[in-house]
């Protein structure tokens, strides 16, 4: 007892000084435990550049959508329709680039992917606007509206092509889905890493300057240094990992032949680097975090979640805020659809089935409270990583699909239970 008390005090002081969120720390610990567990259980194939790179790509679509689901759930709503909306917007983008645009512009027109993506996101925002309008202005509960959407948009995805699968996708559009070509390579990955580190350092320095200007208490210099080191270290480590995963030999050989390069002894090492969908997911998370923390809209989202009546009485146009949240959710769902359609190189009418549950689970595992008012974007993205880690770890171990679903279901319930316990302790 005598030895643990000062140790805990030291940990407490450390957490106070760095202002690290203990919940987030717990989530990261959970990811590490899951990863190490699978690594051991799978005989050392989980923590490899190849598997983690694949994991990052597989997580991207759900992660993008979970950033929007956080705002939906924070305002005490739910969106059960994201899987079906993903199916429908994916189908619209597929038809646009594989059938409508080629008829107008010819195949492989350089503008095809931009038009298809913009169109898809427009459709997603419009669907979200419709849902949001019925929920906010007509007063139908979100559960019902999006349950209707779950059926309706799945039906619509089927109806567009009478159930036919649309393939292949435009060559440029496919880059959104990742793969060997849809990764930015070693050099650009280091550039992204450098920019990210610069942003972290700038954030810490600017934050310190702002606190000083207003005379607020400052973090100790060692704590700032620690945060900078950890932040930049994580970024550089992740990029080093992505850069350690080379192109497959066959692809490398074809590329070398096409470019007239001789393959040296021992093979040519061309790194994947960060995959495009992962960049999109990171961008979505950064932008959504900014929206949630630094804009009026974000502040209103949390105020509505904390006390809808108070938000109304404070003069906030809560209906319009709610409608905007669903528009945002629709747009992000379309982006998720672009990633998953591009990755599959096809638009199918069953695409995104059950995705709504994975997205909601990611947000909830990430600490978003279903009773409203609480949640972070970063947590939801981590939640998506947890879900996908479980899934791909079990695949690596050769577990049957039904067993996988049982495990994921149990983990979801357990995560929420742990969170409940944590909140009761934290008061």
């Amino acid at each position: 007892m005598a030895t643990t008390a000062p140790a805990r005090g030291a940990v407490g002081r450390f957490l106070d000084a760095t202002e690290i969120d203990t919940r987030m720390l717990g989530m990261i610990a959970a990811v590490v435990i899951i990863w190490l567990g699978f690594h051991v259980a799978s005989g050392g194939v989980f923590l490899t550049p190849r598997n983690l790179w694949n994991l990052s790509v597989q997580t991207a679509s759900i992660a993008v959508m979970s950033t929007g689901m956080v705002l939906v759930i924070v305002t005490r709503n739910i969106d059960l329709s994201v899987g079906s909306v993903l199916g429908f917007t994916g189908m619209m983008m597929g038809v646009m680039q594989a059938e409508w645009l080629p008829a107008l512009l010819g195949f492989d027109h350089p503008a095809t992917w931009v038009i298809a993506l913009t169109f898809g996101i427009g459709v997603g925002v419009a669907i979200g606007a419709l849902h949001g309008w019925v929920i906010a202005y007509l007063g139908v509960p979100a559960f019902i509206v999006t349950l209707g959407g779950l059926l309706a948009w799945r039906g619509a995805a089927w109806w567009v092509t009478s159930g036919r699968t649309v393939a292949p996708m435009d060559g440029d559009f496919r880059l959104i889905g990742g793969g060997t070509a849809g990764s930015i390579g070693a050099t650009w990955s280091w550039v992204v890493a450098a920019l990210a580190c610069a942003a972290i350092l700038w954030g810490i320095v600017a934050g310190r300057a702002r606190r000083r200007r207003w005379g607020f208490p400052l973090r100790p210099v060692w704590a700032e240094g620690f945060l900078a080191t950890i932040g930049c270290g994580a970024v550089l480590g992740a990029v080093a990992l992505f850069n350690a995963y080379p192109w497959p030999r066959g692809v490398t050989r074809r590329w070398a032949e096409a470019n007239g390069i001789d393959i040296p002894e021992g093979g040519l090492f061309i790194a994947h680097g960060i995959a495009v969908p992962v960049l999109l997911a990171i961008a979505a998370a950064v932008i959504m975090t900014f929206i949630a923390r630094n804009t009026r809209f974000g502040r209103y989202v949390f105020a509505i979640g904390g006390n809808p009546e108070a938000a109304d009485l404070a003069g906030i146009n809560t209906r319009w805020v709610r409608m905007k949240i669903f528009m945002l959710m629709g747009g992000l769902t379309a982006l998720g659809a672009a990633i998953s359609t591009a990755r599959l190189n096809a638009a199918t009418n069953s695409q995104g089935t059950l995705d709504e549950l994975y997205v909601i689970a990611a947000a909830v595992i990430g600490g978003t409270s279903l009773s409203g008012g609480v949640g972070t974007i970063a947590g939801a993205v981590l939640g998506a990583v947890v879900m996908q880690s479980l899934q791909s770890g079990m695949v690596l171990m050769g577990l049957d699909t039904p067993l996988q679903n049982i495990v994921v279901g149990m983990v979801l319930v357990m995560a929420v239970w742990l969170d409940t316990v944590y909140r009761q302790r934290a008061g």
């Binding site: 207003w214 607020f216 923390r293 105020a303 008012g373």
Partner: protein, 260 residues
């Protein structure tokens, strides 16, 4: 009449509102002059909170008109009321429990940086300044208001009402959750605000809370106005009679709810 030439700050004329078949407020008129405290009294369910929520924009009246400074005002939602300088401290305090004091203080009126993002530092600084005046012991600026004590939460709600240059202040049961010392503080604050020329509606079901602070009292019963009186013209017992029996004493101007 010494009060005749002064244009009332607020005049609510013939206000009615019904929920379903229930007439919560029926044809009630009250007024408020600059630097005046009017106590709005009545039992629970007498319609006083409902009447005042019409003035603060939380409810939309079915009939009647509101005049501010002699001019007809269009108040259809809380934003309109705030634009007219009408601030309200609700009985429930109406705080967003999950965000901090500064976020609540500026809720709906956030300070922005030149880039249009939230200026949290400026808001916290302003919050420290105004809370320093109201409750010097208040130190918990970073915590969600759910973690604060009843009195601290009350201070946040009061700070929000007085920070934005209110002309009219509505206080709905402002001392219901407070101890004796904090209640005295609120009374001091009311006197201070009154001296600045702010008109205050003070709502309570307990006559002892408001009688000494008020210049006039208006009493409601069953959604109607029993009467309005200057506190120097009536006794506490007479006002109690108005509240309980709806009996209007000689010193008061009877309303539509007075019995005989």
């Amino acid at each position: 009449m010494d009060t005749a030439p002064v244009t009332p700050l607020v005049e609510m004329r013939n206000i009615s509102i019904a929920f379903g078949g229930i007439h919560a407020v029926e044809d009630v008129s009250v007024d408020l002059r600059p630097g005046e405290v009017v106590g709005l009294l009545g039992h629970n369910g007498a319609g006083k909170s409902t009447l005042i929520k019409i003035l603060s924009g939380a409810y939309q009246r079915d009939a009647g008109e509101i005049y501010l400074g002699g001019e007809k005002a269009a108040i259809d939602n809380p934003r309109d009321a705030k634009a007219y300088g009408i601030e309200t401290i609700y009985q429930t305090l109406a705080l967003a429990d999950n965000v901090d004091a500064a976020a609540n203080l500026f809720l709906g009126r956030e300070l922005l940086t030149p880039w249009g993002t939230l200026d949290d530092a400026a808001m916290e600084a302003a919050c420290r300044e105004v809370m320093g005046r109201l409750n010097a012991n208040f130190k918990r600026f970073k915590e969600p208001v759910a973690a604060l004590s009843g009195g601290q939460r009350q201070s946040v709600a009061i700070a929000r009402a007085i920070h934005f240059d209110a002309r009219v202040l509505i206080m709905d049961e402002p001392t219901a959750a407070l101890g004796p010392q904090e209640t005295a503080q609120v009374a001091d604050l009311i006197k201070q605000l009154k001296a600045q020329g702010i008109g205050i509606f003070l709502i309570s079901h307990d006559i002892h809370d408001v009688f000494d602070l008020s210049d006039r009292v208006s009493v409601m019963k069953n959604g109607r106005l029993v009467g309005t009186a200057r506190t120097e013209d009536v006794t506490k017992d007479e006002v109690l009679g108005m509240i309980i029996l709806g009996k209007c004493p000689p010193g008061a101007v009877p309303g539509n709810g007075a019995t005989a």
